[in-house]
Amino acid sequence: MNTPQADRWLPGKLVVLALAMFGFGFLLVPLYQVFCDITGIGQRTGVPTADVVVEQPSDRTVTVEFVATLNQYAPWEFRPAVQSMEVQLGKLYDTTYFAQNLTEQTLIGRAVPSVAPGTASKYFKKTECFCFTEQEFAGDEGRDMGLVFSVDPALPSHIDRLTLSYTFFADRTEVAQANSST
């Protein structure tokens, strides 16, 4: 009954297409990373900026606000040393965040940064940041963690306020152990 143009291999081809699309779903993960690296959006600000050239500081200033966030069950105290700073573009500044481990166990923490507005994140240069590495805390230990940054003078002129936000996470397996033993 088959029509003359019947394609015996069509079911196989369609199965291959379905499998390829399953793979494509996973390919979206690296594609998304590349896309975010190019545009500077998303959470791709947790790496040192290689090309920090301290140019002549410009006269223009912007306000940088510091935000600290914890998810619901994170066993930490976490806050910025200052709420905001008036920052001259092109000049290096340093500040700190304070974190304390509220459990008895040693915990490894990790800060994930985010800059708002998202389009400004590629102009926000961090030369030193506690977010570049994992932070180990003994039980009850609290300390200040350093941050050195500058804002690129190329920042678009309509932006006069930047927010730097950190969310502080504990290594998940460690939290599970800490919760189960308390």
Partner: protein
């Protein structure tokens, strides 16, 4: 609907009819049997998902918490969506495809009949698996059907069961889609060229390609959720360097084509019904095919309009806004073609035509509210409000579901050999249409006034419209019992249907007797 088969005794086919006993339904490879199974399954799921909707509307009848706690409320919104989408509307249209596609193209059966049996019989198990999560420690998934992390990762024991259920449902859809494509491409009557195919067959061909392209992406996305939750990966865990927004991109890369997977077969059914009751050929048949293909292509490049508020660059917002609005062009072509088909036609208003006309009006309303949501600056106001709920229910209920109900009335005489009760059918139509508008139209107003979606309690100024909406929902739900009664009555007997059934009907399925014999088109027909 087993009568469809038993009544063909008078038919002088040389070959055997269906096997006897209940096991016939388990082992069957007959496209008509499997189509019937799909349709019965989806009708049952309509009431399961509908009961959940009524729990939601009962709770929202007045402000404050009356019947259920907020967590159970969220489980209801999540499960209602998952059941209605994966358990009801998609299987319903696969059922129509099983019954009608071989008969419309002059093929004796589906191309891969054993695979067909398997595609169906996965469904009851997957559906049971999904529903069983309601009784698990921590309850069913309560994060919305979109399963956004990190919230969905806080689901209790239900998470892996829900994900496996989605895997199985997706597996079933993909196999069904492969079967439909192979049937259409390889088994057409030799004289039926591609552009001679009826529009229902065309819309299903395109839908099946969409299914194969995006269901595996969803499977990948939920697999990543699974490994994030249980195997220590960090695709979406910010703590490990992942990004929750990535899930939204993957989900909506699936999710937007999915909405066309749901609506395109309804477009196909309406494109069969309107010409029949206008007694004119479909206006612009070929342009309908091209419009459907354009909609399918565009559906792949508009996904981020579901997530304008995540903070994407201006260029991205503009691209997704404009490409979304572009979809209105091929959709407009279809709406105008349906209207032009009726122009100077010899119209009559039997129940299938009434549902098709209501589809035309009400789907267009849903399309227009979709255009409003596509406008980025406006979307920031409408996002996650009841306006969104009103929008997608208008395209899904008086859109896709009305297409399916209209199709059921249209082909019931062909399936059962009897005419359904026209008076009761009209009652069913008017009750359904009145209550569906009573349910969803006020939701536009509360949404624009700022009522957020997915909440069990709300500010008192929204009380009146919510009460109206709840009355509508109960009316709508109970009206569907009439639909079941009409179907049962029609299966049991009534006025005998002729082979052509409707005097304006045109197509191969109307050349075989009613009820359609167990085996049709063992010799390929000649298509004019």
């Amino acid at each position: 609907m087993s009568e469809a088969a038993t009544h063909n005794a008078h038919d002088d086919h040389h070959d055997h009819g269906p096997a006897k006993g209940l096991l016939r339904w388990v082992f069957t490879t007959n496209h008509k049997d499997i189509g019937t199974l799909y349709l019965i399954f989806s009708l049952i799921m309509l009431f399961v998902g509908g009961a959940m909707a009524l729990v939601i509307r009962a709770e929202l009848f007045e402000p404050g918490l009356q019947f259920v706690n907020p967590d159970f409320f969220n489980q209801m919104t999540t499960m209602h969506a998952l059941i209605m989408i994966f358990g009801m509307i998609m299987p319903a249209f696969v059922g129509f495809a099983n019954w009608m596609v071989p008969m419309m193209i002059g093929a004796p059966d589906m191309a891969l009949p054993r695979l067909n049996n398997w595609s169906f019989w996965i469904l009851p198990f997957a559906g049971t698996l999904l529903l069983s999560t309601l009784f698990m420690e921590g309850g069913a998934p309560a994060s919305g059907w979109t399963l956004y992390p990190p919230l969905s990762l806080q689901t209790g024991n239900a998470l892996p069961y829900a994900i496996f259920a989605i895997h199985l449902l997706g597996f079933s859809s993909i196999m069904g889609a492969i079967n439909i494509i192979v049937t259409i491409m390889n088994m057409r009557a030799p004289t039926m060229s591609l552009l001679k195919m009826p529009l229902f067959v065309w819309t299903w061909l395109i839908t099946a390609y969409l299914l194969i392209a995006v269901m595996p992406v969803l499977a990948g996305g939920v697999t990543m959720l699974l490994t994030d939750a249980f195997f220590g990966t960090s695709f979406f865990q910010a703590a490990g360097g992942g990004d929750p927004v990535l899930f939204q991109h993957i989900f909506w890369f699936f999710g937007h084509p999915e909405v066309y997977i749901i609506i395109l077969p309804a477009f196909g059914i309406v494109s069969q019904i309107i010409p029949t009751f206008s007694r004119k050929p479909l206006f612009g048949h070929d342009s309908m095919v091209y419009a459907t293909a354009s909609i399918a292509f565009l559906s792949f490049i508009v996904w981020a309009h579901h997530m304008f508020t995540v903070g994407m660059p201006l260029a991205g917002q503009l691209f997704f806004m404009l490409s979304t609005m572009l979809i209105a062009v091929p959709t407009g072509v279809k709406v105008f073609n349906w209207t032009a088909t009726m122009w100077k036609g010899s119209l009559s208003f039997e129940t299938p035509m009434l549902f098709a006309l209501a589809f035309l009006f009400l789907f267009t309303i849903g399309g227009f509210s979709g255009l409003m949501l596509a406008i980025v600056p406006a979307d920031f106001q409408y996002h996650d409000s009841y306006f969104v709920v009103a929008h997608f229910h208008y395209v899904l209920v008086p859109g896709a579901l009305f297409g399916a109900i209209g199709g059921a009335y249209y082909w019931l005489p062909k399936w059962t050999g009897y005419m359904y009760d026209e008076t009761l059918g009209k009652w069913h139509f008017w009750l359904t249409t009145f209550f569906v508008n009573l349910t969803f139209f006020p939701q536009h107003f509360v949404g624009l006034a700022g009522m957020p979606r997915r909440i069990p309690d709300y500010a008192v100024q929204f009380a009146d419209f919510n009460a109206i909406s709840s009355v509508g929902a109960f009316g709508f739900g109970f009206s569907q019992l009439l639909f079941v009664y009409i179907i049962i009555k029609c299966v049991r007997g009534g006025q005998k249907a002729t082979a052509q059934v409707w005097d304006g009907a045109d197509g191969l399925e109307w050349t075989v007797p009613s009820p359609a014999p167990y085996h049709t088109f063992e010799e390929a027909p000649i298509v004019k």
